[in-house]
């Protein structure tokens, strides 16, 4: 394993941890809005780490740019999707959970 491989592996492991954290949040958090917050972790950070690992390891620049493009696109799409989900939930009269 070269240095790059080691770094890439570390990045992937960190990314996988964020994916795992997202699932835990999805299962443990009390309402839709907090779960949305949990979901953004794998979306943004988790995939970000995995993509960085792949990008530094790829031999071609085009490949690195493509995986980064997928990540950026997913950031945009999921950010808006989360807003849409939150707004639809709010419009249906569901209010955020609070510790009473």
């Amino acid at each position: 394993m070269t240095v790059i491989d080691v770094v890439a592996t570390a990045l992937w492991v960190v990314g996988a941890v964020f994916f795992f954290a997202g699932t835990v949040g999805l299962l443990r958090f009390p309402d839709v809005y907090t779960r949305l917050h949990a979901l953004t972790k794998p979306d943004n950070v988790g995939l970000g780490f995995i993509v960085s690992g792949l990008a530094i390891q790829s031999s071609e620049l085009a490949v690195a740019l493509k995986v980064i493009a997928v990540w950026v696109l997913l950031l945009v799409v999921n950010a808006v999707s989360c807003q849409v989900i939150a707004r639809a939930t709010w419009n249906r009269g569901i209010r955020p959970w609070s510790r009473r």
Binding site: L73, V76, V77, V80, Q83, V84, R87, A88, N91
Partner: protein
């Protein structure tokens, strides 16, 4: 194949039937639809593992994007409680259960014991030069089995006509309660969707991609525009829509029948211009299939009475 590959395959292959079971067992139809979307995503991974990236591409667009949207939309029209057929008696369920178990086990055993080594891969490879395309799957679709694809587009156009006859679609009015996000997102994504569709179509001659993939992506983008209320659902009354709907079929038939005039066989492309003809068919097919898929989407039900009489909105 390493042990980890095996673990991945086993987990994936177990998750799919479990999802199917949950889809059919879940009490709430909306969660069935969500689970169905999840199954679409998971099965795309299975196609990827089985070295079928073409199918993964179509599945990604059709299974996850289109069918999910169609089902969710149909659910808004039908309602969660409507559309219930007669309850099935216990005896029938037990009988059917026994029968399908037999079918499943028999099928699995039969498939695993297929010893005949592999079908037509060698034949396709040997004749690839005659097909005028470099990518085997595209060669099978448009050259070796052009017949199938020609009939398929006919089936698709018929299905689109049928779907529109039954549920002609509606035009939602009023303010968008989700404004402005869907509209902005659709506007940002549309150029990228068109670019990706073009890229997939262009790749089809030499690598995974082609008319079906491009059309599925385009249709997904179209549905996004309709959902975001940027575009209205395509209307049958529009000449442009009708032309786009039949373009693929008409052009394919023309190209297929033309060699008959020179004494050649049906679908025998003249070898000098074969590649150009295949590409032109692919472009026409992309257009038609994407419009067909878009026609399946009847639009949102309008609030109140309007949704009850969709024929008024033809």
């Amino acid at each position: 194949m390493t042990a980890l590959d095996l673990v991945f395959d086993v987990v994936l292959a177990t998750v799919m039937p479990v999802l199917v079971w949950r889809i059919l067992a879940s009490k709430d139809l909306a969660s069935s639809v969500v689970l169905f979307v999840a199954l679409g995503l998971v099965s795309a991974l299975a196609w990827a593992r089985l070295h079928a990236p073409d199918i993964a591409l179509v599945e990604a667009a059709v299974g996850a994007g289109l069918t999910g949207a169609l089902l969710m939309n149909a659910l808004s029209w039908i309602g969660a409680e409507a559309g219930v057929t007669e309850p099935v008696s216990r005896a029938t369920r037990v009988g059917v259960g026994i029968l399908v178990t037999a079918v499943g086990v028999g099928l699995a055993v039969a498939v695993i014991h297929l010893t005949q080594p592999v079908g037509l891969a060698h034949e396709v490879d040997a004749r690839l030069a005659d097909a005028h395309v470099d990518y085997p799957v595209t060669a099978v679709l448009l050259s070796f089995r052009g017949y199938d694809t020609l009939l398929e587009i006919a089936v698709l156009v018929t299905a689109a006509l049928g779907a529109r006859l039954y549920a002609p679609g509606s035009v939602p009015g009023g303010d968008d309660p989700l404004s402005p996000h869907p509209r902005v997102l659709a506007r940002v994504l549309t150029p990228i969707v068109v670019l990706v569709a073009g890229y997939l179509l262009w790749r089809g001659a030499s690598a995974p991609g082609g008319a079906f993939q491009a059309a599925a992506v385009l249709a997904g983008g179209g549905i996004l525009l309709v959902l975001a209320r940027v575009l209205r659902p395509p209307r049958m009354s529009s000449i442009a829509v009708r032309a786009a709907l039949v373009a693929g079929l008409a052009w394919f038939i023309a190209v297929a029948a033309l060699p008959l005039a020179t004494g050649a066989q049906l679908l025998e492309y003249p070898s000098a211009s074969a590649k150009q003809l295949i590409i032109s068919i692919e472009v026409a097919l992309t257009l038609s299939i994407s419009i067909v898929l878009l026609m399946f989407f009847p639009g949102e039900p309008a609030p109140g009475e309007a949704a009850r009489h969709p024929e008024d909105r033809w």
